[in-house]
Homo-oligomer: 301 residues x 2
């Protein structure tokens, strides 16, 4: 039986599984390795390192097929760069690269129709219809889109803190929490921090914002409500574009929508109000999805 390797690669975590004959033999996690334009060698190095640790768990140096679903691999140049770099790592003679969303779809719905909403630093919804065709909404990056994403939540919180200072917004507990989270001794230091903070650093504020919301701060709650609305809208806007018999299943994935997060609960509640959708509360096993796609790549090469 061929040895299949499946990898789900996000911005903050890389999860790898190895299977043989349908059984998952080992699972390993490592650091994030999301693809950025021109940086695919770095991503490939991290992914290969996690894959080697997984293979070591069954006493092997290589497998037969490596299927990688990576955040940031939505466009051809990044996808083929990453595939080339991974082939150079010699962990499998056959390497297939697709997106993190593809492996989530395969994990949630095997080959059937369905929608996956993903929210981490960025946000996107992808639907697959009964013929296998894909449609997507969102996912255009932190400066063009990513509505309701971790970046958008962090940015909204910074705006609320600065408007509160001016008296343009009510006082908010976000101020002290964000000063603390960014290790800023005062507001001026926060202004300097924000001027050069990366999208993922801003997204790192989102869990704090949602905590402050859970503690009852009205401005933070407003930001959380806005994010839940934007994320559920991604799936709702996709509905008329996905040709399949309703209700269409919707699965949630990404760090911002992980189990037991309040944001996950409010997105699910909003999705339940839409009769054409069937929200799925169970977590998505994207590593199993990657292994399913690896098996499919042997059947239909």
């Amino acid at each position: 039986m061929p040895i299949l390797i499946g990898a789900d690669v996000g911005g903050s975590k890389t999860a790898v599984g190895v299977s043989e004959g349908g059984d998952v033999l080992v699972r390993v996690e490592g650091p994030g390795a999301a693809v950025r334009p021109g940086r695919s060698l770095a991503s490939a190095g991290v992914i290969a390192e996690v894959v080697r640790r997984a293979l070591a768990g069954i006493g092997r140096l290589s497998g037969d097929v490596l299927l990688v679903g990576a955040a940031g691999a939505g466009r051809d140049p990044e996808r083929s760069e990453l595939a080339r770099a991974l082939r150079g790592e010699n962990v499998a003679p056959r390497v297939v690269v697709t997106t993190d969303i593809e492996v989530a779809l395969a994990g949630a719905f095997e080959t059937g129709p369905g929608i996956v909403v993903s929210a981490g630093t960025g946000s996107i919804a992808v639907g697959r219809d009964a013929t296998g065709a894909h449609r997507r909404i969102g996912g255009y990056g932190w400066q063009m889109g990513d509505e309701g994403s971790g970046y958008a939540i962090g940015r909204a919180a910074l705006g609320a803190v600065s408007r509160a200072l001016d008296g343009r917004s009510p006082r908010t507990a976000l101020r002290d929490r964000i000063l603390w989270a960014t290790r800023s001794p005062d507001f001026d230091s926060l202004v300097r921090w924000a001027a050069s903070a990366s999208p993922s650093e801003l997204a790192g504020l989102a869990p704090h914002v949602l905590d402050v919301a859970a503690e009852g701060d009205p401005l933070a709650q407003g930001i959380g409500d806005y994010a839940a609305r934007e994320l559920s809208q991604l799936a709702i806007c996709l509905l008329p574009l996905v040709e399949a018999d309703p209700p269409i299943g919707v699965a949630l994935t990404g760090g911002l929508l992980a189990d037991d997060r309040p944001l996950r609960r409010s997105v699910l509640a909003r999705l339940r109000e839409e009769s054409g959708l069937r929200p799925i509360d169970a977590p998505v096993d994207a590593v199993v999805g990657a292994l399913r796609l690896a098996a499919a790549s042997i059947r239909d090469p």
Copy 2:
């Protein structure tokens, strides 16, 4: 009579004037030199170069006082770094650094009370009351604030273009104009451009957005209206904080609010609806303001 040098330093333009005995003898313009944290040597080099060209106009190598009002010099560390770097340029024995807003206030209102709203890559409003005390609203940078700024307009346009692609927004003429302005052959190239474009590159889209608005595109008009509302709100929110007899004068400055720009007209129209404010339609001569502050720095050292 002492020779005074006044400089108004923005992100895209540095304007310098030299005066003696109250007469402006020469005016020169050069490239922008807005201050960024840790980059004050580069700013000082550009400013000194423009100052030397101005001094050459009257056959001098140095003057007596250099007063610089620079964008980005709102906080102490940047201000003192820039002053130190400028002293090393030896164009005047006395160097004073303040903000571009201070020199605009002095240009528009001499020492009297008034409000200046400035919009370029960023946005801010600063008011000075009858006692000389200052209050500000906004100006916290592209990720924390800068509501209605060039950056905010460019960002809103990118969002409109991506939502139109998804069918979440109506079609908009912004799409073709922004593809053209960013030299993107297709939407995917625009997504890549936006992922790494700087705040000033995004702000560079604003004039295109306002052009498309003037040509009748409803989405672009919505973005222009939003910016006009945000910029006029900066002054309106400042009104109760500035202790002076109403109506308080409001002057507009910065590239986005230059003469004959439609955005300038709509901000003025909104400000006119506020009885406590007296909008001033004339352009602000910030170089004259810098020279006034240079003269005052001799009187009150």
